[in-house]
Structures are given as C-alpha cells and as structure tokens.
Amino acid sequence: MADTQSKELKVREKQEVTSPAEQTSPGLVFTPAVDIFETDKEITLLADMPGVKAGDLTIDLRDNTLTLSADIAPVENAEEDDILVEYETGRYYRQFTLGELINQENIDAQLNHGVLRLALPKVEKATPKKITVKTG
C-alpha cells in the first residue's frame, strides 16, 4: 500500500498568531508552516501560504530580522452560504532572526502553488574558506 512509500497526511489546524504586534486591521492572522535549511552558500526558506498572490506578499529584511506578511483576497462570493466550515482564512505573519549576514541584493523569492521559496544568499565573507597551510 501507499503507506510503505509515504505516510498519510494528518490534519493540522492552522496556527493562529496571538499577537504579532498591535493589530490595526481586523481579521485573523496565521503563522505559515516553514522549512528552513542552510547550505554553505545560502539559506533557503519554504513557507506554505495558500491563497496568497505574489502581489500581496511582503518580505522585509532589516537588522537581521526577516518578516513575512501576506494578505489574502477572499475567495468566496458574497452570495454563498456556509454549510461546513473546517478552516479559517486570514493573513499570514511570521518573523525570523537571521544569524548570518545576507546579501540583500541577490535575494530571490518565488511563489508557486501557494508555496513561497525564498533564497537568501550569504555574504561572501561568511562562506567558510579553507586555508591550506604551506610548509616552506
């Protein structure tokens, strides 16, 4: 069966942000699930943000703090009546502190099928250089 190849997905409720800061606009705010990994050259961040269009996403990096925030447009028409509501929709917000210096000019962000892929290249200085000691 499929179990041997890949596990079955379990329901995970969307995590609501209690208070990222003072809210100035009404509505719910959720924390997107992320994967973060690092290679010698860059840090890559993947975030699940269903319903977000590229134009509604704001990525901000200053003072080693990376902020992701995104608005979503409502998908339902006004005439629709709810029958069953299992999940809520709302904005996304999440902040990260980066330990490494990031080359701000070469940051690359792509949004595909509701998943953000953010590549943060490290500044040249931070990439480990191997120094060989010569014997003379």
């Binding site: 329901v11 009404p26 690092e38 010698d40 006004a78 709810d82 029958i83």
Partner: protein, 150 residues
C-alpha cells in the same frame, strides 16, 4: 447549522460581530468532538469548507504545493472524493535543516454533499494552493421562486 438558518449570519465579512461567536461555537464543537460519535469536522486531511449558493455547491480546501495532475477528484452520487499526494522535493545534499514543519504524504477524503448534484458539469480549479470544486446542484435541488398571484 440551525443557528445559521435562524439568524442568517453574514458569511464572509471580517468585521461581522457574529464571526467571533461563530468561531466560539466551532471551538466548543471541537472540544466535544472526542466524546461524540459524529464530529462536525471529519478530522481528515484536507480540511474543507463547503458553501452553497442558489445553483452550486462550492468545496474548498487548502493544498499548498499540490499540483493539479496529482489530484484525483471523483463524484459518485452526492459523494465527492478527493485523493492525492503532496510531495516535497528533496533538496541538495549537505543542506542542514533548521526547521521542518511542512509535511508530505498522501491523502484521501470523501465528503457528502447535502443535496442532489449534477455530476456531469463539475468544475475544479487549483489556484495559489487553494482547491475549489464547483458542483452544480441538480434541477430538483435548486430552489424554485414561487410568485404569489393576486
């Protein structure tokens, strides 16, 4: 559901004063879910929202990172079955993970629609990670406007 019919709660307005009450009601239902035999939320991935208007049922689910070709959607009678797999690409070797919250795996879910449907013209779209299936109601399930003659 009875609340909705009685008070006609507005459906998609962020500023609605009923929104918070509605959420509380759902949270209460969630709390009692464990003990009751028939929970409101099926607790099966993916979570779904079901809405209706005069002509159609709308089934929506959040499936970020899922491609349309990997989804299998079937309608049998008034039952809608959605199954598929969410894949997460393997990254290059030597990548050190700091966080791993996203999950990959298979899923399969059936949802029963509350009325008769016309299964010939079901439409499904997957946009920005949100699946939307539009299931037209069968003629007999559509509300008929009745005019009163004087």
């Amino acid at each position: 559901m009875i609340y909705r019919r009685l008070f006609n709660v507005p459906t998609y307005t962020f500023r609605s004063p009923w929104e918070e009450l509605d959420r509380m009601r759902r949270q209460l239902i969630h709390m009692f879910e464990d003990s009751s035999q028939q929970p409101l939320s099926a607790g099966v991935f993916p979570l779904m929202n079901l809405t209706e208007d005069k002509d159609n049922y709308y089934v929506r689910a959040e499936l970020p990172g899922v491609i349309g070709e990997e989804l299998n959607i079937q309608v049998t009678g008034r039952n809608l079955t959605i199954s598929g797999e969410r894949k997460i690409a393997v990254e290059e070797e030597g990548a050190r993970y700091h966080r791993r919250e996203r999950e990959a795996g298979t899923f399969s879910r059936m949802i029963a629609l509350p009325g008769e449907v016309d299964s010939n013209t079901v439409e499904a779209s997957l946009e920005n990670g949100i699946l939307c299936i539009i299931v037209p109601k069968a003629e007999i399930a559509k509300p008929k406007q009745i005019t009163v003659k004087s």
